[in-house]
């Protein structure tokens, strides 16, 4: 079985190699003039007004948490999907219980407002993402 996967490794190496070749090509083809102004951080032509490492909206963190929970559960459905036909009713009820837990969690997150990305109230100081 691992024999099928060997070509994939070759392809991964080739794909990264191709990216590197393109970069090298432009390094030789293009003229590098450089200059301080060109290498400064983009701020629409103004002097830099703001840091980029600053506090971010907590919503991104919430989305990440929701993702971890639900994507892992989605991955658990794949093995069941493969054997659903042979498994018949016993397996269907088993996965039904699993999905019921998943849906309960989903409903809980929804009711708690974990899926809301709008700030709680206008003018409360939080910024939109």
């Amino acid at each position: 079985m691992p024999r099928q996967y060997l070509p994939v490794l070759v392809c991964i190496a080739l794909a990264f190699g191709l990216g590197t070749v393109l970069l090298a090509l432009s390094w030789f083809a293009g003229r590098q003039t450089g200059g301080e102004a060109k290498r400064s951080t983009y701020e629409s032509g103004l002097p830099l007004l703001d840091r980029s490492r600053k506090r971010l909206s907590v919503i991104f963190f919430l989305v990440a948490l929701d993702f971890v929970v639900f994507d892992v559960e989605a991955a658990f459905l794949y093995p069941w999907a493969l054997v659903a036909r042979d498994g018949g009713w016993p397996l269907f009820w088993a996965i039904g219980v699993f999905l019921a837990f998943l849906l309960a969690g989903f409903a809980y997150v929804w009711r708690k407002g974990g899926l809301e990305v709008r700030p709680p109230a206008a003018g409360s100081g939080t910024s939109t993402p």
Binding site: M1, R3, Q4, Y5, P7, V8, V10, C11, I12, L14, A15, F16, L18, G19, T20, L22, L23, L25, S26, G30, R31, Q32, T33, G34, E36, K38, R39, S40, T41, Y42, D50, S52, R53, F60, V63, A64, D66, F67, F70, A74, L77, Y78, A81, L82, A84, R85, G87, G88, W89, F92, I95, L99, L103, F106, W110, L115, E116, V117, T128, P129
Partner: protein, 358 residues
């Protein structure tokens, strides 16, 4: 010496290393070259089509009907200066574009472009037929997020960082319904291999898009969102974020991000065609009266369907306005996920009730 290069070649083809390493590598390079060409002309087609949709001409000056425009664009991007901002985190800034492009290209190593030939020894239309191809595709497709968020963070520019974060939040949200939508066809086919899924549709005599219309819809909407295309192109909302995660990128690095986005469009189309629209099968594969359609080779059917999807992508861009961020999240979490979960349950119920092999 009686050895000519032909003898050497015949000898080499017989070696086990050849079938294991060199044949896949050569096939993959050919496929990648075709994909590059396709992307170059996809960009051109997009600019022309958008031109027509907006009642203007689009690029038509370089070569006849503007057909050499992509070549000019590529040359321009190659000779542009490759700037690295002083404040950027160098290694991550340099690595990010490759991380976006490479996974999208590797996916093409498992996509079957055409039917397997009946004659033994004849070349097949895929590089390798993994038994877990669908999981492999989903896994690699989500790797592209790393490149985008790494590029946004490494640029050390607030526009880039916000664009990268938005992009990550969006792609991560739509990955869940996308993964769930694929469970339905999987249940019908009973196989994770892409070749197996197409063969499952041949056995059923019906494209999975018909019994799995809900999953098909969810998959495609999530796919458009995954590629950051209109109407989900918030990461690059130029009125708010300049150019999003690739604000600081120039020259060939920008081209690599661009290449990644278009390669991902083709990936989404190719997987949608393989899983839902019968891959290389002709329309209505079980209707005998349409057998004359088999005169068109399977590869042509495959690419015809892929082109239809690519046209849809461009059409969307010419038609829909951009979503707001909260609308985007609502659509993903409150509509597509419940819809795809319901589809999984109903499909499971039907499969167990009917208990009939396709």
């Amino acid at each position: 010496m009686s050895w000519s290069w032909l003898d050497w070649l015949r000898e080499a083809v017989g070696q086990p290393q050849f079938t294991l390493l060199f044949a896949p590598a050569a096939k993959f390079l050919v496929a990648i070259f075709a994909i590059f060409l396709l992307i170059a002309y996809l960009v051109f087609a997009e600019r022309r089509l958008l031109g027509f949709l907006q009642v203007r001409l689009g690029p038509n000056r370089v070569g006849p009907w503007g057909l050499l425009q992509p070549i000019a664009d590529i040359l321009k991007l190659l000779v542009k200066e490759d700037t690295i901002p002083n404040r950027a985190v160098r290694w991550a800034y340099l690595l990010a574009p490759c991380l976006v492009v490479a996974p999208a290209l590797v996916i093409f190593s498992v996509v079957p472009f055409g039917p397997s030939p009946t004659a033994p020894g004849a070349p097949r239309w895929y590089v390798t037929d993994l038994n877990a191809a669908l999981v492999f595709v989903v896994a690699l497709a989500s790797l592209g997020i790393y490149g985008i968020i790494l590029g946004g963070w490494a640029s050390n520019n607030k526009f880039s960082l916000l664009g990268g974060l938005r992009s990550a939040a969006q792609m991560v949200s739509y990955e869940v319904p996308q993964g769930l939508a694929l469970v339905g066809p999987l249940m019908l086919a009973g196989s994770l291999s892409l070749v197996g899924i197409v063969e499952g549709q041949a056995r059923l005599g019906l494209w999975f898009a018909v019994p799995q219309i809900v999953a098909f819809f969810v998959y495609f909407v999530a796919g458009v969102a995954e590629t950051n295309r209109n109407p989900f192109d918030l990461p690059e909302a130029e009125s708010e974020l300049v150019a999003g995660f690739h604000t600081e990128y120039s020259g060939v690095r920008f081209a690599l991000f661009f290449l990644g986005e278009y390669a991902n469009m083709i990936v989404i189309s190719a997987i949608a065609v393989t899983v839902f629209l019968g891959g290389w099968l002709r329309p209505f594969p079980s209707v005998e009266a349409l057998a004359f359609l088999d005169l068109v080779p399977g590869v042509a059917w495959f690419f015809l369907k892929v082109f239809a999807f690519l046209f849809l992508f461009i059409w969307f861009r010419g038609t829909f306005p951009r979503f707001r961020f909260d609308q985007l999240m609502d659509l993903g979490w409150k509509w597509l996920i419940p819809l795809s979960l319901a589809n999984v349950l109903v499909t499971g119920l039907v499969v167990v009730l009917v208990d009939r092999g396709p």
